[in-house]
């Protein structure tokens, strides 16, 4: 069994597994009618050096609201069973902070992957003055001002649009309290170079939100950088 994410463990520690299939809540922030709209918003915010705008594209509100719903259901179950119910909000507050920080960290990886060559941010680099200075100059988010989205696509539709893949996507979404899940890849252009980004998204009601900057169908998953240099031709191959 693969380890649960920390917040999944946290939810389970309250005995909440039984209510994971409850209806999803809609987020209270911006809404995105399509996966493409969420991806576009994220990328435009990054290009505008607007971290808070970029974070709006993530499913933070929905997952926190989901946790609130689960907590409420669990509290009712416990009260019915005569078990004392804690009134503390401390651990849910921690959950929200952790989740927001996780999205911010993913966003920084995305930014670094565009600004630095390939996965250079993941390398251990000797701390010479020249290397440090070069990194700091290269990491300037203002350099993303000219970032453009060329196109957004569903990855390998020959696989991801099959009945079993769609069924899996819904099951995956349900485990996170969403109605559906999907993935998108995007082709970007920055300073004459092309890059490929990957996005995992969830649908809550009528709105799509980014859950993670990784894809099961493109790359090795969360260990890969969320953006890689590519060519339009190589990108095209992933859309078949």
């Amino acid at each position: 069994m693969s380890p649960r994410p920390w917040w999944g463990t946290a939810v389970c520690s309250l005995g909440l597994v039984a209510v994971l299939a409850q209806p999803a809540l809609a987020g209270s922030g911006k809404t995105f009618g399509t996966p493409e709209a969420a991806v576009e918003h994220f990328v435009k915010s990054i290009a505008a050096d607007d971290l808070d705008g970029a974070l709006q594209a993530f499913a933070v509100d929905e997952l926190v609201a989901r946790a609130e719903l689960i907590a409420s259901e669990t509290a009712k179950r416990r009260e019915r069973s005569g078990v004392r119910v804690s009134k503390s909000r401390t651990f849910l507050r921690m959950f929200a902070i952790k989740l927001t920080a996780e999205c911010a960290s993913e966003t920084r990886r995305f930014v670094y992957a565009l600004l630095l060559d390939n996965d250079r941010a993941d390398w251990l680099t000797e701390a010479t003055d020249a290397n440090i200075d070069s990194f700091i100059r290269a990491a300037d988010p203002a350099r993303l001002k000219s970032l453009q989205t060329v196109r957004i696509d569903q990855p390998v539709p020959s696989v991801t649009r099959t009945a079993s893949a769609l069924e899996n996507a819904k099951a995956h979404a349900s485990a996170e309290g969403a109605d559906d899940s999907t993935e998108r890849i995007a082709l970007f252009r920055l300073d004459g170079k092309h890059y490929r980004g990957v996005f995992g998204l969830l649908r809550y009601g009528g709105s799509w939100r980014i859950r993670r900057l990784s894809s099961f169908h493109d790359g090795d998953g969360p260990h890969d950088p969320p953006v890689r240099a590519t060519t339009p031709e190589k990108y095209q191959e992933l859309t078949k």
């Binding site: 509290a75 902070i97 920084r108 930014v111």
Partner: protein, 266 residues
């Protein structure tokens, strides 16, 4: 720039994920209710000023005992740290850098904000560990670790959630706060090291404190590392190299006796 990959088989991300998995698995938390729209508001309130390390420690422990998580977070160096983190100084100190796992250069506002979010997240983890160190006995800790890997009955999880109720820290008291091992920590080499550690995170000085705590008749010892920004002291870590909590995985507070604690003050 000529970055080099050190040890091609070593995947820092894998390593960190395993580390996190182990840590967070052992510290799984009970989740209740929360407000929304976090991305549109400050992640935590502004930090308070504390004239002495003791004042910061006292504030943290008292707020934790009052189940006031946001109040407890005020004692941490979140904004100061996020704004003053010195990427170059830290890299030089470590002699190498891995940008993914270090905080970002504060020349750019985007990284200042991310540094703050990551710091708050780290402090939340430490605070959770601090609470559960006192709330859970060894059997409950073992149950918590198993929870990360396997399903558990409602009854078991109800018991765990009840044991982890932060309201059970209501009677937590500070008995005393001291500089640890004065014979070591007041030596010139130690004070120089403390300043070097502080500079790497943009602070003027750093220091450690240990505290003797009492909860429901049991004594605990805790360690604290603090940073000085301007005239105010704030918490950086809920641990101290001098508090001797090692050997208790998943805990940053350890049971003690008054006699054991006093030895750590000499």
């Amino acid at each position: 720039m000529t970055p080099r990959r050190v040890g091609s088989g070593w995947r820092p991300l894998d390593y960190m994920r395993r580390w996190w998995g182990a840590l967070l698995g052992s510290l799984a938390i009970a989740v209740l209710a929360i407000f929304l729209a976090l991305s549109h508001q400050a992640i935590v309130g502004p930090g308070r000023s504390f004239d002495t390390p003791e004042a910061a420690v006292t504030h943290f422990v008292n707020r934790l005992a009052a189940d006031d998580f946001d109040g407890a977070m005020e004692a941490f160096a979140i904004d100061d740290y996020a704004q003053h983190f010195d990427f170059a100084a830290m890299a030089r100190r470590l002699r190498s850098f891995n940008a993914t796992f270090m905080d970002g250069p504060v020349r750019y506002k985007m990284y200042v904000r991310i540094n703050a979010l990551k710091a708050a997240s780290d402090y939340a983890d430490q605070t959770m560990q601090f609470s559960t160190s006192m709330l859970l006995d060894d059997a409950a800790f073992d149950r918590l670790r198993r929870l990360a890997q396997a399903a558990m009955s409602d009854a078991d999880m109800d018991a765990l959630a009840l044991a982890m109720d932060p309201a059970k820290l209501r009677t937590l008291k500070i008995v005393r706060i001291d500089p640890p091992l004065k014979s070591l920590t007041t030596a010139p080499k130690a004070t120089q090291l403390a300043r070097e550690q502080a500079v790497a995170v943009g602070a003027e000085n750093s220091t450690d404190r240990i505290a003797l705590l009492q909860l429901n008749g049991t004594y605990y010892r805790a360690g604290f590392n603090l940073l000085k920004y301007g005239k105010t002291w704030r918490l950086r870590r809920l641990s101290s190299y001098y508090a001797e909590v090692s050997g208790a995985p998943g805990r940053n507070v350890a049971k003690t006796t008054v006699e054991e604690y006093l030895k750590l003050t000499k």
